[in-house]
């Protein structure tokens, strides 16, 4: 008993949330370290450079998003990486200490230290050998696996078409391996080799990949692209189910119309994922059937598919019961009830901008962040080319705008992908004095 009492304070401390763990968005892998579940402190926005605006370069913009801060809703840091290479998506390493950010045009990957001081991310490495090492170009999704980053790419160095693959780098930024998205796989569905997002379910040893289009298309002006029937054929129509351990494709799923972001339900025990197809404007459910076979089924339209609203990002709730969907063309943010994932129902919609792209909700579902940019050459023109980051509160009935940062007015560029971090507090690096001189008694 005496020993137990002496250890009680330690036990209590250990049962408390991790000191660095206070906020998060639901679109991170739940298998990351320190998944954070309260009020986020900072929002990082990977921003495309615009010629003549500010320094014109791609940059990581950090915004203070803690309402208790004097700088709430303000840009507090900007790290310009130089040049314009179509800044697009980001992802944390497994320990969340580093944020990897990719560019779809020049295939550069920028590694920021966000663990030491997330209020001031520091560029610590630029990876430039992706095309040379893997043969792929257009690094899109950065998905953390233990000690490594799995990178989903959009295109290839050979013809800049849609055949592509996955590249693996270790957390130090060294190339490890690559895996082609299948272009031929036995089964009823024709494999097409396209790539986009990645999502792993470790308990099932299943990885899903989705598909988009190649460099020639995503770098083309959207109006020109949509008027080119031949180019419009060059979009992926499939998802692939992989044996994650063996990194072997097992099955190709028929999901026509460029299935983009993939979200596994975050609800404990759920074994299904959902995605949205951009060109056909549908929600798809990926789930095992009674025989254990993975199947994809379109389960709901998003808006009027005939009008091509172009669903882009999705954000699933922490309990897996609802899903925010942004549609680029009509500038709407929609909420679907996923209580029955086989029959999602739209329960809310609001125009949140002239064009909207990424949507990230906080873990508690009370805050929804929206950005505006899709791709430099796909964004709208003229007065419709609004570039912003907006925060909305969600009370279960209404999205209410709390603040907006005008990225054009601020001279920043086109706001694209978002990631949350939290202020580290109450921790120190291990070092000689840090632990050698500590006051706590040894056991």
């Amino acid at each position: 008993m005496k020993t137990s009492r002496r250890l009680l304070p330690w036990l209590v401390a250990l049962l408390l949330p991790m000191a660095t763990a206070t906020a998060d968005e639901t679109c991170n892998s739940p298998y990351l370290a320190n998944l954070i579940k309260g009020q986020e402190d900072y929002l990082h926005v990977w921003t495309l450079g615009v010629p003549g605006l500010g320094d014109g370069a791609d940059k990581l913009v950090t915004v203070d998003v803690n309402p208790r801060s004097a700088k709430y809703g303000k840009v507090i840091d900007v790290v310009s990486v130089g040049g314009r290479g179509e800044a697009h998506h980001m992802g944390f390493t497994d320990d969340r200490r580093y944020l990897w950010a990719g560019r779809l045009d020049d295939s550069k990957i920028f590694v920021f230290d966000v663990g030491t001081n997330p209020a001031k991310p520091k560029l610590v490495k630029t990876i430039v050998d992706l095309p040379e090492k893997s043969g792929w170009v257009g690094p899109h999704t950065f998905y953390p696996i233990p000690g490594r980053m799995l990178i989903g790419t959009l295109s290839n160095a050979r013809d800049h078409g849609g055949a592509t693959g996955l590249a693996v780098y270790n957390n130090k930024g060294d190339y490890v391996a690559s895996h082609a998205i299948p272009t031929a796989l036995p089964g009823a569905v024709k494999a097409d080799g396209y790539g986009y997002d990645i999502a792993v379910h470790p308990n099932k040893n299943v990885m899903l990949t989705s598909s988009f289009t190649g460099h020639k298309n995503y770098m083309m002006d959207l109006g020109k692209l949509m008027a080119d029937p031949a180019a419009m054929k060059n979009f992926g129509n499939t998802m692939v189910v992989w044996d994650f351990k063996a990194m072997k494709p097992m099955k190709v799923l028929d999901t026509p119309g460029a299935p983009l972001e993939i979200r596994w339900s975050l609800n404990e025990g759920d074994n299904w994922a959902i995605t949205a197809s951009a060109l056909t404007s549908k929600l798809w459910l990926i789930k095992q059937d009674e025989r254990g076979e993975w199947q994809a089924r379109d389960v709901a339209p998003i808006g009027d598919p005939a009008k091509i609203p172009l669903p882009v990002d999705i954000s699933i709730a922490a309990n897996g019961k609802s899903l925010w969907v942004n549609t680029f063309m009509d500038g709407k943010t929609r909420l679907f009830d996923l209580t029955n994932p086989a029959a999602p129902k739209q329960v809310y919609e609001k125009v949140t901008g002239k064009q909207v792209n990424m949507v990230s909700q906080s873990w508690d579902g009370k805050r929804v962040y929206v950005t505006s940019s899709l791709l430099a050459n796909w964004d709208k023109k003229g007065k419709d080319d609004e570039q912003f980051l907006k925060l909305f509160s969600w009370d279960g009935k209404e999205l209410r705008e709390q603040w907006k940062i005008d990225f054009t007015k601020e001279g920043l560029g086109r706001a694209h992908h978002m990631k949350f971090t939290a202020k580290p507090s109450g921790v120190a690096a291990i070092s000689g004095p840090a632990i050698a001189d500590r006051g706590a008694p040894a056991r």
Partner: protein, 219 residues
């Protein structure tokens, strides 16, 4: 044998008066593991090197414990009770130890290493007490409990493996006894190359056992 491993785990926690309070929480495995040798484990990075101390006080380079055999290594601290941290690593190692000891020829080609985050508390003497019979030199499967002379000697090893760790501080800014770290277990081939890394969600004994066999099948 499984019961014995559980008893050893409970014994280690009982010395802290915490047995039964915080059971390790393993991930749920809902799949059949690919057969050994049916897949390839990529070379992820070189295992870090540095100066370490064995629980009998012997000093030497870490590479002595990461080459020549297939090695399963994790960082621990002896009084960690995070159910998805060190106790889970201990439980997983104990499970694998039982499986490997059932195949002594295989066990002789494998070693386990538990390397402490806390050289101040986890001295060789403390580790010897913690390890008990698990570190018996005569076992076909050697399990080494290592520490370092100082945090300064530990730091490059931790960094080399890519193992994040920080220590909580109290209101006065003094370090406490709680380490923040993402549990990582490193599978290292006989040439000292890290071939797989398991974090909590991926730490499944069936998978690790087949991964060990996969490396042992390599020529």
């Amino acid at each position: 044998m499984r019961r014995r491993a559980d008893v050893l785990l409970c014994g280690a926690l009982a010395c802290l008066g915490l047995a039964g309070a915080l059971a390790a929480i393993p991930p749920r495995q809902q799949f059949t593991v690919p057969a050994p040798g049916s897949y390839r484990l990529e070379s992820i990075q070189a295992a870090a090197d540095g100066a370490v101390l064995e629980s009998d006080g012997t000093a030497g380079p870490l590479r002595r414990y990461t080459t020549g055999k297939v090695t399963l290594l994790s960082f621990i601290y002896t009084y960690c009770v995070d159910p998805v941290g060190c106790p889970l690593a201990f439980q997983t190692f104990s499970d694998l130890r039982t499986r490997l000891l059932a195949k002594p020829e295989m066990a002789r080609r494998v070693r386990f290493v538990s390397l402490s985050f806390d050289p101040t508390n986890d001295t060789p003497t403390a580790l010897r007490h913690y390890a008990g019979n698990l570190a018996a030199p005569g076992s076909p499967l050697r399990w080494h409990f290592l520490t370092t002379r100082s945090a300064a000697e530990l730091r490059p090893i931790v960094d080399g493996f890519g193992q994040d760790v920080s220590v909580n501080v109290d209101a006065q800014g003094r370090p406490t006894r709680f380490y923040n770290h993402l549990l990582k277990v490193f599978l290292i081939d006989a040439r000292g190359r890290v071939r797989e890394i398991y974090t909590t969600a991926y730490l499944m004994p069936d998978v690790i056992f087949n991964d060990i066999q996969t490396l042992l099948m390599e020529r």
